[in-house]
Every structure is written in structure tokens, then in C-alpha cells.
Symmetry: C2
Subunit: 494 residues, 2 copies
Amino acid sequence: MSSVEFMKRVNNLYRFSALLGHLGWDQKTFMPAKGAESRGEMMAWLAAERHSRLCDPEFGNLLSELEANDMDNDLASNVKEMRRQYNQAVKLPSDFVSQFTRARSDALIIWEQARAKSDFSLFSSHLKTLISLTRQKIEYLGVQDTPYDVLLDDYEMGMTVADYDPLFVGLKSRLVPLLQEITNSEVKLPKLPKEMLFSANEQEEFCLRVSRNMGFDFEAGRMDQSTHPFCAGIWPGDTRITTRFDEKDPFSCLYAVMHESGHGLYEQGLPKEHSFSPRGQSVSLGIHESQSRLWENQIGRTTAFWRIALPWFKEEFPDFPDWDAKTVDLLVNEVKPDYIRVEADEVTYNLHIMLRYEMEKLIFNQELSVEKIPETWNQMFEDWFGIEVDKDSNGCLQDIHWSMGAFGYFPTYTLGNLYAAQLLETMSKQLGDIDTLVESGNWSGIQVWLRENIHQKGSQSSATELIEEITGAAPSPEPFLNYVENKYRRLYKL
Amino acid sequence: MSSVEFMKRVNNLYRFSALLGHLGWDQKTFMPAKGAESRGEMMAWLAAERHSRLCDPEFGNLLSELEANDMDNDLASNVKEMRRQYNQAVKLPSDFVSQFTRARSDALIIWEQARAKSDFSLFSSHLKTLISLTRQKIEYLGVQDTPYDVLLDDYEMGMTVADYDPLFVGLKSRLVPLLQEITNSEVKLPKLPKEMLFSANEQEEFCLRVSRNMGFDFEAGRMDQSTHPFCAGIWPGDTRITTRFDEKDPFSCLYAVMHESGHGLYEQGLPKEHSFSPRGQSVSLGIHESQSRLWENQIGRTTAFWRIALPWFKEEFPDFPDWDAKTVDLLVNEVKPDYIRVEADEVTYNLHIMLRYEMEKLIFNQELSVEKIPETWNQMFEDWFGIEVDKDSNGCLQDIHWSMGAFGYFPTYTLGNLYAAQLLETMSKQLGDIDTLVESGNWSGIQVWLRENIHQKGSQSSATELIEEITGAAPSPEPFLNYVENKYRRLYKL
């Protein structure tokens, strides 16, 4: 019966994580300002509770006992992941875990203020603390080939600098020339009427309609506002996404909602019988991101999508210019080097990620000092994008990740883009032309395909295995590069 | 150092309670319907975790060790309350606690549906379960003089049927004749224009203004919507109140907000240095209710209040009839026997409570069967109020309490009314005429008086001790009866 006791303990560990997820959602949506301190304490306490239970020697004994015997696949997958977590956790002192959680929670508040004022100096001491705690964590866990590898592996198992370096170099070598061609293209893009305002209420109606049509179940989830859109897959029956409204640009909200709904569908489709255990979680951050990017870009930013969605949009905004789907598609696919990652087009997006990857490599493998982060960022940005960064909120203060101590997270976004393109290729082989499906307005075929091939499987396989199982090929950047080159050559008549 | 270890454990127990409070708030405000099952499981798990830690024999040893030595007052007050909880908890099996929490969570959902459809039969099996679990709990804890006493004592320590019976009889003997006089009075009350609608947005603006003027700190709290208004004093810096909007009646929302803000001020004023321990909690439910009723009725339902608030109200609703403060005061103080407790005036309110008290006494001391609850309720209501109950949602389905297993809770509402009147007498002796203060629009004197005399003290004293310390007299129904007789004789020119 050690497997029963083991699963009971695993479920409890995941309940602590789920509570942290719930409190994290509330922290970013509804928490009043003065609740920040108690929130930080509470989350630090929960993290420490989880950690001390994970490190319990009896839990270690259970793992060894189970490993010595035959196990069914589900149990084996839980044991494997918990062994990984256990081996890591026992290297980290409980006080350290609690201190780190607390520091993250404190930094989040300050980062928000610093970003609002575009003043890096407000944030720098918190960032210094987080970086130094992260360095300490790397030391506790034990350096692999390079210190940064420890972080990369934490967010996408098996991935290191040795994997990412050639990947990014390869992407850059084809994306930069493409960007050059596009910049020189003479295609004239439509522009949103400058004076037109799109009220938040109507944007919300429209976005909810799109999200519902994607299959997001609002009886088992909800949508709220936050500074930065995110998805919290709290627990079975309760998945929450957020967005934000820009009254001058309705598409910013739309694509945030499609992105987060893509994540949300994954969470809603996970196998409930394995909830509160590794086996019932998503495979990896990269696979998760593939689900959001597929809906956001490969379905959402197409003429086919706008053939269906434009009438819905016009219902909310009857004064919108009388453009056809193709024109709107051009509008939402404008390629333009700019400051903000989350607003970036599909061509420049991965360059944004690569920049962050190079920054983090400098910080953890070359000991770049915190003081030098803004100027290093700005210099690199100017070299790559040809634009001078005017303020830190358009530069190194723009992303939430570092304030959450999430160093090594960004590269999984690029993996998501690559996986999405590779999955789409296979999906279209199996379901027929995707544009035709999207244009039909009935997207349940797509949703079911994703659910059956990915969501329902939980973390049965690793990311690499899953991609191979579905597509018959190892993960590769080729499908993405082909997709992006074809798409933009067509749009920009290159 | 056993006191350090003791306080650490106490803090952790209260963290579990606080998490339950947070999840409970979310459950009643934002949770999607399909999240109910997981929510129930999660809350049951948290309750069981708390319970098993409370029952830990080592915790019992710590208590005994501390009790054998001298303690400062704060520690003594924590030890006393934890001893009470410990002695209770060790009598309850962990499975039972978890089962009860789960049953409550399940019943809440069904009760909401039953109430919406006004169909008692939907709810009766859940109610039966809760009553039978409560009977089991009484048995575990050990019957005192009567089984119901166990429940009464749980919600207001030291109070039993032997205390409440004469109290309610005394109240009834003076309230019923007063009600009779009022019913025969010839004073004509103003009526809200039937066709006028009060939009929720404007109601919210007005209510927020009143709440802010009461001193509720919205940087350390927030206000949302729920079917039933409530206040969740989650933890330091984060106190949340809720309300609901009736577009035909703006006063229903106003007095809900004043009521919950009164509770909220108590929570916001508790001593932070004692948070997550009994010493830092409110004294009792009765004292808590005195804080809400004082603001709602004794401040809010006065001509003085409307002298200040009517201009604010007219800013939001310029089409409101051109009445003076005295007229609006009459309107919001209409005495009228009616079905719904939470909408009741100050004269009939305590009769509603007494009815519930008598019902619960029948259920737990006379074994009244669940099937007979509606007809017994309806008969008693008709006898006392002279009105036939038309549907169960206007009768025994109206209150949330039973669906939460909170039997024995209602009588604390009457205590709150009595305490509030007694406190107001003393306050006016010390601060001068309260109407003059209210009319000045500067309510900080009142807020500071409540904070210093009650909120800041946490649970330093028991409810009875606190009332004696502040007013110099034991708790008594006289101040309330005098207040209510004077007020309504004046309003109705009796």
C-alpha cells in the first residue's frame, strides 16, 4: 500500500501548489494594495510547508520503495517527476525556499511601480536580491555545464545552452533577412482610424464570443482584468484567464484573449482522474505555449478567421471601416520592429526572446551586474532592431518574469512557437485544410484534435516524445520557419 | 521556548482558517459553477489539515506545559482559547470534520438552486445530512443541559437556552405591543416612486462614498457582489465586503453596505501584532454584529445621517423626489411585518431571530423532522406576524446559515442589536450627542471611539467583560428596548 500513501502525499503537495496558484491569481487581479504584505507572508508559508513535506525523509523512502518494484505507467510517471522534485528540494534549505518566495512576492509589487514610473532604480535592489538568490539556488542545485543551464532545465526539462544556442542562431539567420525584405516591401498596410475608440465593454463581448467559439468553457472558468494577461489553471472545473483593454486598439485584447484561452483549453482538457499529481499536469511550458500561440497566431491571425469574426466584430463596432477580412488580416499582421515583446509580430517575436535569453546568459554565466542591465539591454536592442530604447518600461522593465524570479523561462516561448507550427502541419494532414475549417466557424474539430492528441494525455510523455508521437518527427524549427516565411512572403508580396 | 513553538503552531492553525476564509469569499463571489466540486474538496482538505494539527498530542502537551507556568495576558488569552478548541477537537474524528466541511460546501450550492426555485424538496436531503451531522457533533462534544446548548455556546461562548429563553420572552413582551401600536398609527409614510429605477453603477458610487466616510479603507479592502452580502476579514490589509443591487430599491444596497462596512471596520481595526492568533480576533459574533448594526441602524437610519447623505444621493440620482432628510428617514424606517429577515425593520427584526431560535430548538431539542420544517416555520410565522408564507424562499429557505451548517448562529444577531444600543448610550455620554456628530459629516470621532474601545482590543476580554468595561454595566436588553421604543414612538407619533 505504499503507492496509496505515496499518492496521498503527492496530492497534498499539489494542493499546496494549487493554493499558491489561486492566491497568485487573486494577487494579480483583485487584491487590495495593502494586502500585499500578508499575501507575501502567506505564500511564503505555503511554499515552505510544501517544501518541508516534499523533503520529508519518509517521502524519500516511499520513492525508493516504489522504484524498487514494478509500477504501472501512471504511477511510474508520478514517481519519476516526484523523484526529480525530491532530489532538487532536499538540496534547498527550507528557510531559503521561504525567503525566495517572499522576495518574489515583494519584488512583484515594486516592479509594477517601477514599470509604471519607468524607473529602473526603484526596482534594481529587488532585482539584485532575486538574482543573488537565484545564483544561490544554482549553487545549491549544483552547476551543470553552465550555471544558466540549471535554470533552463528547470523550465523545460533537458534543454540547455548547448541546445538553445544553435537553435536561436539558426532562427536569427533566417528571420533577420526576412525582416529586411519585409521592411523594404512596398505593400501599404491599412491603419486603424486614429480617432476611433473601442469601448472596453464591447471589446469584452466580442472577445468572449471568440473564446467561447474556441471551446473555452465559462461554466468552468472566467475572464478578468489584470495588467498582464495570464491563465491560471487553478484546479478541475476552475480555470481563469485575464486580459486588459486598450480603447485605441481592440486587437491587442483580442489576441491576448485568444492566447490565454488557448492555455485555458489545455488546462480544461487535462485528465481529471490524475488531478493534483504530475501525471495530470501539462507536459511542459513549451507545449503549453504551443497551445496559446496556435490559437492566437496560426488560427487568429488569418483571413479565414476574420471571415468569421469580422461580422461579430462589426456587431459590437458598427462604425468600424468597411474593410474585408483580408484587409483586417493585413492590419493584424503588420511586421514592425518595436519595443514590446507581447505586442510583437511573429517575425520579430523570437528575436525578443533571443535578446532576453542572451541577457540572462550574461547575468548568470558572465556575472553581468544589475546596474549594467539597462544599458546592455538597450545596446543589444538597438543593434538588433535598429531602434533606440526611449525608456526602461519599453526595455528591461517591460516583462513581469524577472520580478517573479523566473529566469530561464523566456526560451520556452520560442519552443512554443516552434511546436505550434509543427503541430499545425500534422493537424492539417489529418483534418484537411485548416483555413477551410476556421472559415467554417465550427472549430470543434480543431479543439477535439488538440484535446485528444495533447490535453487529455496530461504528462504521459515528455515534450520531445509527445511531438514525435504526434508528428512522427523530432522537434524542429523548420515547420515554423517555413510557416512564417510563406505567410509573410504572401502578405507582403515578396 | 515552548511558548515560541506554541505560537508558531497557533499561527499556522489560523493560517489554515484564513485560507478557508479566502476560498469561502471566492466561492460566493467569483467561482465558476463547475468549480464547486473541487472547491468543496479543497476546503474539506484544509479543514482536515487544520483539525489534525490541532489534535496533535504534542500540541496538547505544549498547552499543559504553558498552563503549568505563569504567562503574560496575551499568551494566557491564546492558551485559554486554544485549550477550548483543543478539548473540542480531540473529540471529533478527523474524517468527521472533513465530511462535515464537504457536506456544507455541497449543500451551499444546492440551497442556492432550491432557493432560486423556491423548492424545499431540492434542499431537504442536504439539510437532513447537515442536521444529522450536527446531531452527531453534539454527541461527540457531549450534551450540556440541552443538545442545542452545545451549538449556542459554540457561536457565543457561555450562552445557552437558559440565557436566551428569558431574553427573547422579554423582548417579545415589549416589541409585540410596540408593533401593534405602530400598525394602528395613522402616520402616512412616503413611498418610492414605483416606476423609478436606480442603476447599479450609481448605487455603487453612492454606497462607496458612504463606506469611505465611515472610514472603511479601500486600499486595504474591496467591495464586490454576491447573492448575500457578507464581510470576509481575510487577513491584515485585506478585508472584503460584498453587496447586491436592487434597481427598484437603492436603500437595500445602502444598508447592506453600511452593515458590512461596520463589520469591515472591526476587521481592519484588529491588532495586527496579534494576527493569526485568537488574541488578535474579534471578541465574539455578538460583538461583531454590534459593529455592523450600530452603523446600519443607529447611525444610518436617522434624519442626521440623511442630512449629510441626501446631497450625495441626489448627485447620483438627480430625478429623486425633492424630499427632505426627515422624509427619507421615515421612508427607510418603515415598520412592516414581512417575510425577509435581512430586509426587516428594527422592531420586527428580533422576532425573525426568535422564530429561527425556536425552530432550531425544536430541531435539536425536540427532534423535529426535516419534512416538518416548512409547515412549522409557516405556522409560527403566521401566528407571530399575521401573514401567510406564500413560498419557501420567503420562509425557511431564505437564509444561507443552515446550508452552511451554522445552527445556533442566529441568536448572536439579537445580541448584536442589544450590544449596539448599550454601546451607543455610553458613546453619546462620552462624545456628546451622536446625531450632532453624524450630521457634521465628520464621523472620525465615532470611528476612533469604536476602534479604541473595541477593535484594537482584539479578544483581550470576553464579550460580557468588554461590555462591562466600556459601559460600566452588564449586558442588558434595556438600552435596546428604550432606544427602539423612543425612536419609533417619535417617528410614528405614538
